[in-house]
C-alpha cells in the first residue's frame, strides 16, 4: 500500500545535457554504423534546443573488418572487472577500448558520466524494433520507451529488460547515468537494409525529441506498461562432440515475442525429429536464431511478461 502510494508520486530527475549515440559496438551490425558515420559528417540531425547528442563509433577495428568483435564481445566488457583492470600487452582489444569509452563517456557510476547513452544494434532475429533497458535503471528510459510507443508510428516497440536483478549491467550504455539500446531486426550481419535504417533513424530522432521536452520541463504522467523480462536462455541440442544436431524449428523461427507454450515444437533435428518445449509455463522467446549467439550457446532467450507501474516524471 505504502509502495503504491510512493510510486504514484511525481519523480524528479536532473536535466539531460550530455547525450551520446553509439554505433558499431558490434562491427557487423550495419544500421548503427551507417547512421553514426552519416551523423559524424552531418551532425545537425542530432541537435535539439537544449542539447546536442554526440555520435561515436564504439569498435572501429571490428567495423573495419566487418566482424562482431576482434578479441572479445565489447558489449559484455563494461563491468568493474574490466573497466578497473590495468592495461596488459596481451589483453583483448575490446578491454582497452572499453576503458577508453569509460573515460570518454563515464566513468561508470560517477557524477561526470554522460547523462544518456544510446546504443544501436541489429539482430538476425525477427524482434522488430525492440527497446532494451536494464532492470536497474528504469524511470527515465521507461518514460522514453513509452514516448516512443505513443509517438513513433513506424512499428511496434516491445520493451525488453535484459539483465537479471542481481546482475551487474555490462553493456556500453551502462557507463552513462541512463541508457537504452535500440535492437532492430531481422537484418543479416554485414547487410544494410533501407527499411531498418529508416526506422532506426526515426527512433533516434523521436528519443532526442523526448529528451528535449523533458529538459524543457514537460511533465510526463504516470503510466502502466508491459515489458518482457529476461529469465534465461536455451541452447541448441548438440552431439557429444559439441556439434549442433538440430536447428530452430520452422514453427518457432521468426516468432520472437510470441507465446511459447509447454509442448510447442522448438527444434527439429537433421534426421527429422521434433523437440518440444518442456517448461511448465508459457514464455516469450526472443533473439531466436541470432547469428552471434551460436557461440554463446543460445538458441533463444526466454522472457516472461511483466507489468510495470511507472510514476510521473519531471525535471528538477
Amino acid at each position: 500500500m505504502q509502495e503504491a502510494a510512493c510510486m504514484a508520486a511525481l519523480q524528479r530527475l536532473q536535466p539531460v545535457s550530455h547525450v551520446a549515440v553509439s554505433g558499431g559496438t558490434h562491427g557487423n551490425e550495419m544500421s548503427g554504423i551507417y547512421l553514426v558515420k552519416h551523423w559524424l559528417r552531418e551532425p545537425s540531425a542530432l541537435q535539439r534546443d537544449s542539447f546536442s547528442a554526440t555520435p561515436f563509433l564504439a569498435n572501429p577495428l571490428a567495423i573495419e573488418r566487418c566482424v562482431r568483435y576482434v578479441g572479445r564481445d565489447l558489449n559484455r566488457t563494461f563491468t568493474k572487472q574490466f573497466l578497473n583492470s590495468k592495461a596488459a600487452w596481451d589483453e583483448p582489444y575490446e578491454v582497452q577500448r572499453a576503458r577508453e569509452i569509460n573515460q570518454l563517456y563515464g566513468p561508470k557510476g560517477s557524477a561526470q558520466a554522460f547523462d544518456f547513452l544510446f546504443e544501436l544494434h541489429n539482430t538476425t532475429a525477427n524482434v522488430g524494433a525492440c527497446l532494451i533497458a536494464s532492470v536497474q535503471d528504469n524511470l527515465l528510459p521507461m518514460h522514453l520507451c513509452h514516448f516512443i510507443q505513443t509517438h513513433c508510428t513506424l512499428g511496434h516497440y516491445p520493451i525488453l529488460l535484459y539483465n537479471l536483478p542481481d546482475q551487474e549491467a555490462y553493456s556500453i550504455s551502462s557507463v552513462a547515468k541512463h541508457g537504452l539500446a535500440f535492437e532492430l531486426g531481422p537484418q543479416p550481419q554485414g547487410v544494410l537494409r533501407a527499411d531498418l535504417l529508416t526506422q532506426m533513424g526515426a527512433l533516434v530522432a523521436c528519443a532526442l525529441d523526448f529528451i528535449d521536452l523533458f529538459n524543457k520541463g514537460t511533465t510526463f504522467p504516470a503510466f502502466e506498461t508491459e515489458a518482457y523480462r529476461f529469465i534465461g536462455s536455451v541452447d541448441y541440442p548438440r552431439h557429444p562432440d559439441g556439434e549442433l544436431c538440430a536447428s530452430v524449428h520452422s514453427k518457432l523461427q521468426d516468432k520472437d515475442f510470441l507465446p511459447l507454450r509447454p509442448g510447442d515444437p522448438i527444434f527439429q533435428t537433421f534426421s527429422g525429429e521434433e523437440i518440444l518445449y518442456q517448461g511448465h509455463a508459457t514464455i516469450y522467446p526472443v533473439f531466436i536464431n541470432e547469428a552471434a549467439y551460436y557461440e554463446k550457446k543460445i538458441a533463444f532467450n526466454k522472457t516472461e511478461k511483466c507489468s510495470l507501474s511507472i510514476p510521473a516524471l519531471q525535471r528538477e
Binding site: 551507417y34 558515420k37 552519416h38 552531418e42 566487418c66 566482424v67 538476425t124 531481422p186 537484418q187 543479416p188 550481419q189 554485414g190 547487410v191 544494410l192 537494409r193 533501407a194 527499411d195 535504417l197 529508416t198 552431439h239 556439434e243 549442433l244 536447428s247 530452430v248 524449428h249 520452422s250 523461427q253 527439429q268 537433421f270 534426421s271 536464431n289 541470432e290 547469428a291 552471434a292 551460436y294 557461440e295
Partner: protein
C-alpha cells in the same frame, strides 16, 4: 542479319534433330559444403550426411559429402585468406606450395587433387556446391556453361519436380567475368544457392529447400544411369550481364544503399526509371538503362567488399538435346 539467320537455322536444326546425345554415365558425385564457412545450410547438411549418408546414396553411383574449407567453417567466416570459390584457375592451381601461399589456394590444390584434376578424364563426374546468400534468391541453380546438355536436362528435371515452387537458373557464362569456382573441377559443375539466410544462421526452411534440390538432382542421376531417355527440353535461365556497385564518395565509402523498392526483389524485372538506390539524404537513384533487366544477388553481405550491390541478368532460353546414358 545473316548472323541472325544462321542462328535461327542452328536453333531450328537443334529443335528438329531427332538425334539423342549419348552421355557417359555419372558415377562419381561429390557434394561440397562450407566453401564459404558462414553459409550454414551446406555446412550442416554435409556434416549430417557424413554421419548418416543413407539419404544421399543412390544405386549405381558413389556420392561423397565433403567440407571444402574446414578452417573457415570452424571460425564461421567466409574465408581465411581469400575467397576459395574464386581460385580454381590454372594460375592458382599450379602455384608452388610455399610458406606464404594463402590457405585457400593450398586448400584448392588439395581439393583439385582429390576431386579433379580440373579438365582431366579422372575428374569427378558431378559436383554440387552448396551455398547460401543473404539475397532473396530462393532456391537457385547455377549453371556455368550454356552448352552442357546433361546439366540443362538435370535442371529441367529439378524444376519440374519442385513446381509450383520456382527454381531459377542463373547462368554465369560471360566473356570477361570469370569465376573459377570450386565445383569447376568436375565434368559437370552445379552450384546451389539458397536464400535469404544471414551468414552464420541456419534456417530450417532454407535447409529444407536445399535438401530437396539435392534429392531431385541425385534422383535424376540415378534415372539417367539406369538408361532413361530424356527428350529435348528448353529451360528459361537468367544470364549474367554485369555487376553494379554501390554509389561511393571519394573515400570509397558507400553513400547510398539498396532502395526498399529493389530490396528482396531478386529475379523481378527492373525497368528504366525504377528506384535502385537510396542516399543518406533520402534521395532516390533510378535505373537508367533502356532495356529491362532482372537483378539478382541484391544486397548480398559478402559482396560489399567485392563492390557489388547487385548483378544484372537477362532472361534467355536454353535448349538441350535429347539425352541418354551411353552405357545402356
Amino acid at each position: 542479319m545473316l548472323n541472325e539467320f544462321q542462328q535461327s537455322l542452328k536453333l531450328l536444326n537443334r529443335m528438329t534433330s531427332c538425334s539423342v546425345v549419348l552421355g557417359a554415365p555419372v558415377r562419381r558425385v561429390a557434394i561440397f559444403g562450407g566453401t564459404h564457412g558462414n553459409e550454414l545450410s551446406g555446412v550442416f547438411l554435409v556434416k549430417h550426411w557424413q554421419k548418416n549418408g543413407a539419404e544421399i546414396q543412390r544405386s549405381g553411383l558413389q556420392v561423397t559429402p565433403f567440407i571444402t574449407n574446414p578452417r573457415a567453417v570452424k571460425k564461421c567466416t567466409r574465408y581465411i585468406d581469400c575467397d576459395l570459390n574464386r581460385v580454381f584457375d590454372p594460375d592458382n592451381l599450379g602455384r608452388k606450395v610455399m610458406e606464404d601461399i594463402p590457405y585457400e589456394v593450398r586448400k584448392a590444390q588439395e581439393i583439385n587433387n582429390l576431386f579433379g584434376p580440373k579438365g582431366s578424364d579422372v575428374a569427378y563426374d558431378l559436383i554440387f556446391d552448396l551455398h547460401n546468400t543473404t539475397s532473396n534468391m530462393g532456391g537457385t541453380l547455377i549453371l556455368e556453361n550454356s552448352g552442357n546438355d546433361f546439366i540443362i536436362q538435370m535442371f529441367h528435371y529439378i524444376k519440374n519436380a519442385l513446381a509450383p515452387e520456382s527454381c531459377p537458373v542463373f547462368l554465369i557464362e560471360h566473356p570477361n567475368l570469370k569465376y573459377a569456382t570450386t565445383r569447376s573441377i568436375a565434368k559437370h559443375p552445379v552450384g546451389v544457392e539458397v536464400g535469404p539466410q544471414p551468414q552464420g544462421v541456419l534456417r530450417a526452411d532454407i535447409l529444407d529447400k536445399m535438401r530437396k534440390i539435392i534429392k531431385h538432382g541425385l534422383d535424376f542421376v540415378r534415372i539417367f544411369n539406369e538408361g532413361e531417355e530424356f527428350p529435348p527440353c528448353t529451360i528459361e535461365v537468367y544470364r549474367i550481364i554485369e555487376k553494379v556497385d554501390y554509389p561511393r564518395n571519394k573515400n570509397d565509402e558507400i553513400i547510398a544503399i539498396i532502395h526498399p523498392c529493389l530490396q528482396d526483389q531478386d529475379w523481378q524485372p527492373l525497368n528504366k526509371g525504377d528506384p535502385v538506390f537510396l542516399t543518406c539524404d533520402g534521395e532516390t537513384i533510378a535505373y537508367e538503362g533502356d532495356s529491362t533487366v532482372y537483378p539478382t544477388f541484391v544486397n548480398e553481405a559478402a559482396y560489399y567488399e567485392k563492390k557489388q550491390a547487385f548483378v544484372k541478368t537477362v532472361k534467355v532460353k536454353l535448349t538441350a538435346k535429347g539425352l541418354r546414358s551411353s552405357s545402356s
